[in-house]
Symmetry: C2
Subunit: 373 residues, 2 copies
């Protein structure tokens, strides 16, 4: 690359490690799997059958790394599906709701609301806690177990990209009700109690790879649940579990990149290693925001996301200051810093692949901007 790499704080599709990009570009030219003398190994990843031994090697490695690096329990089946988290919003209630048992949700922002909308189309749905009254600036306290005791499942969103809030640890909710978690925007970022999840899903395009592949993991007893209504073949977890995600042609390239990202994460020490780095990165940025009289963090202490840091600018001309801030940031090479319209202001998405040196550069820029303001 001839030009300096921008500081990419885009919310997703998001930054990937340079070494992952290099390795992926090579596999576009020629797969060249170590020890594989098959003809497929001399082709591009884009050209080989999903049923070839060469692809199976990659697929198996990706599944294994999901268990090893993301610490997904071996009791769960790992699936690589398509259609993003948005498709999971529908697949979860289609597959998991039981007759006469409501689907329960905790509402923490736009993404959980979308999940709730899909569930309501299909059957009884209860919102058992919500942070809507304060524009989702915090994660609400866990409701009493009685509120969801009879549920088909309880669904939460582990991290809220738009508002910059995050569950500190995934909740323990007792043995009878399966915990379903949309982990799209903080999967693999640190230890957070993934063993408590009965069904988890994550669009890959933030911490795990490119858009177009969704990592789903699901406990065996939930795969066996008989759907209440008519569910098309492609929308059943049982279809994909029975065929190891090869019922139809999966996003083979996406699975390769996922494998490359997980191998990179493994080198850093998995979720424990990533967590230490991510805590340090987020801490620096929040410390700056809390010490500032210009910037104001949106998320409340105790609910703050390590992945998406959101803030607004204060003062008599907040809109003008925000515009000047974003223009100056872009000139300094910061890409994707504009906040979502639901919060306004700014958002730095500092996923796993965003380096600590980038945080230092961002903090320096922000201090300098405040000093001059």
């Amino acid at each position: 690359m001839t030009r300096p790499r921008p500081h990419n704080v885009s919310a997703g599709p998001a930054i990937l490690p340079v070494e992952v990009l290099e390795r992926t570009a090579e596999a576009i030219r020629e797969l060249d799997l170590p020890g594989d003398t098959s003809l497929e190994s001399r082709l591009s990843i884009l050209e080989i059958s999903h049923r070839s031994a060469a692809f199976q090697t990659i697929h198996d490695a990706a599944i294994d790394l999901c268990h090893e690096v993301l610490e997904i329990p071996r009791s769960h089946k790992v699936l690589f599906l398509q259609g993003g988290a948005s498709t999971q919003f529908a697949m979860v209630p289609m597959n998991l709701r039981r007759a006469d048992r409501p689907a329960c949700y905790i509402e923490t922002g736009v993404w959980s609301k979308k999940a709730i909308t899909e569930s309501k189309m299909l059957g009884e749905t209860k919102v058992v806690a919500s942070s809507a009254a304060t524009n989702h600036d915090h994660i609400p306290a866990m409701p009493a177990p009685e509120t969801y005791a009879n549920a088909s499942y309880l669904h939460i969103t582990s991290n809220n990209t738009i508002y910059g809030t995050e569950w500190d640890q995934l909740p323990e909710i007792g043995s009878d009700v399966p915990l379903v978690v949309d982990l799209s925007s903080n999967v693999g970022s640190r230890k957070m109690g993934i063993e408590r999840v009965a069904l988890g899903y994550a669009g890959a395009q933030k911490n795990l790879g490119p858009s177009g592949v969704t990592v789903v993991f699901v406990r065996e007893d939930l795969i066996a649940r008989e759907p209440v209504g008519v569910v098309p073949t492609m929308l059943r977890y049982s279809t994909h579990a029975a065929e190891n995600s090869l019922y139809n042609t999966p996003n083979t390239f996406g699975i390769l990149v996922l494998r490359n990202v997980l191998q990179w994460m493994k080198g850093i020490g998995g979720v424990a290693g990533m967590g230490a780095i991510n805590e340090s990165k987020a801490e620096k940025l929040y410390a700056l925001l809390d010490a500032s009289s210009l910037y104001r963090a949106h998320a409340k202490v105790g609910s703050r996301s390590r992945m998406n840091v959101t803030w607004t600018l204060g003062g008599s001309d907040a809109d003008g200051a925000t515009k000047r801030f974003l223009a100056a940031a872009e000139a300094q090479g910061f890409c994707g810093l504009k906040g979502h319209r639901s919060v306004g202001g700014c958002r730095a998405s500092i996923y796993n692949a965003f380096p600590e040196s980038g945080i230092d550069a961002l903090c320096e820029f922000m201090r300098e901007f405040e000093r001059k303001a």
Copy 2:
């Protein structure tokens, strides 16, 4: 690439042009869009927001090329979805069936059977013609219009990868009943009457790009059809049409490769140019099969696919001869030549990107094998 490229006749994911692979590998490293000075243009295609101007340029170009190169009528909306043709098998009846009007299908093989299965789950479904009685070795004659006059739609599969049969031209079926076509395995291969299609769909991984992106095109009046039952948001054509395929994060990489493939096709003269080459390629192979006493083409004359050429080996030890043939072919660098178990024998998938020189090499190998047999 240091080693010679194998002759890739895999049924899909399938061969792509080398220049497309090279260009795609570059975009993995750095997008570098001509005339685009944005920060995104200095990032990888895998890292940029689907809402960035840089991606929008690629997305718009891909849509435009679908109209220009594939000759999809401008009256149709082009969508880039996920989940392959298998998801379309469900989306078509979910969105298009009308109360008290059966969904009609012509059954020409495994893929149309799968489409029929999804439709039957949802409502009345009629198979109005079938080639099942002779192991799908031909395309059946069009049934009388009365048989589907009252249909919600009539569905056909334009090319049957497993059996190696293909509609010569897509049928004209009259104005009232929408023609729905699964074009996955011969889209863009030649002029075939695409203007007759009301809704068409194609998994990209044969003629158009990598797996993980599905090209769908749909006439405006069908987008407006109100579904009969409950259809989740992600499974409605209207959702994706209203948001120009950006309701959720699409497979951004897949769309880039699609654009690259279509630009390559444009340089060859679009479907007219591709068609001339593909006719010539297929003709050489069928001429060899018809002149041979060892090889026997599976598909009947008049129904033969230009994309997937299927044959069995004759003689007293057909199984042994087939095994020896496949082993010898692999040693000569032919990759993916084994036939599907439904037909047995051999299959050469000679999609758009498979060069005529590869056909010449295959014919030479086959003649030599027969001479020595």
